[in-house]
Symmetry: C2
Subunit: 187 residues, 2 copies
Amino acid sequence: MNIKTFITRYVDPDFKGDELPFPIQTFEFAKEDIITDFGEVETHAYFLTEGITQISLEKNGTERVLDFFFPGSFFSSYTSLLKQEASDVQVMALTNCKVEAIKGVDLANAYQHSLLANKVGRIATEYNYMRRVGREKDLLSKTADERYQDIFKKHPEIINQLPVYKIASYLGIHPESLSRIRKKVIS
Amino acid sequence: MNIKTFITRYVDPDFKGDELPFPIQTFEFAKEDIITDFGEVETHAYFLTEGITQISLEKNGTERVLDFFFPGSFFSSYTSLLKQEASDVQVMALTNCKVEAIKGVDLANAYQHSLLANKVGRIATEYNYMRRVGREKDLLSKTADERYQDIFKKHPEIINQLPVYKIASYLGIHPESLSRIRKKVIS
């Protein structure tokens, strides 16, 4: 999926695909490339067309994974992009990735006058809002077993492509606990 | 602040205030009124003009406060409103409250064609997204002491108006721990 497909599917079924309200560029990132680092001001909104990315926080030298992104999602250090402040998170390619990118300044311009740009921004933000709140609710109401099985059902590819410690960090548990859960799920 | 002031301040400084893109109603809720209950489908987006509301989750019979809302904020069981599914959270008035309310169906209609409605929806969702993500980052990176002091600085009124167990639930700590923190802060 690319941004045009996203618009036709989730924003406006009548969208013909010939008049995006903002210019887009395509970039490729290699596995472990840092897309936006701690302390940088985010310059783009990205749409992932291939690969997996993550957003992480650092606490006492330890990485905490806040979110994984899969193809078909918008991602960025969003608070940094919106506030034009230094990022307190890091955005990284976990596999080789292809993205479409909208410059923050082009997005802000399009937001001034374009109905379509505002619909895209609203719907993408609603979607990311629901994902984040859903994760917060899951952390408060589900066990690590249940949360692992959710992610396993939704994104089985994650299990083969990402190291255990990343998934454990995302689930908020120790890698050893995740290994026990995985053995139980497989058996 | 009401929705018109919100628009002039955060969405469009040229907004004259005479042409909202959706009808609004005003409601009052009494302290402890349930605005949207578990299992209901959310029917409105609310804008708080007076009072404090909360959104909470229930786990094993225990309430977990996910969020407090103060005047000047949009609130609702937002995932339920967007997906038109049964709410897994409860929205409650913690004090006597006054709100402006937009019916979900009116909002959806306005989103079809109105640039202003989409700007309002995008910016309100961006704002709530940043608050929720900020809270998640705080939970992962700050101590309960630091988080209490943040909320104390930002919303000193909360301390006088809400019972300790509510604030403790929001901070994710036991009421006894909060009492210790409060004594330290006051002394």
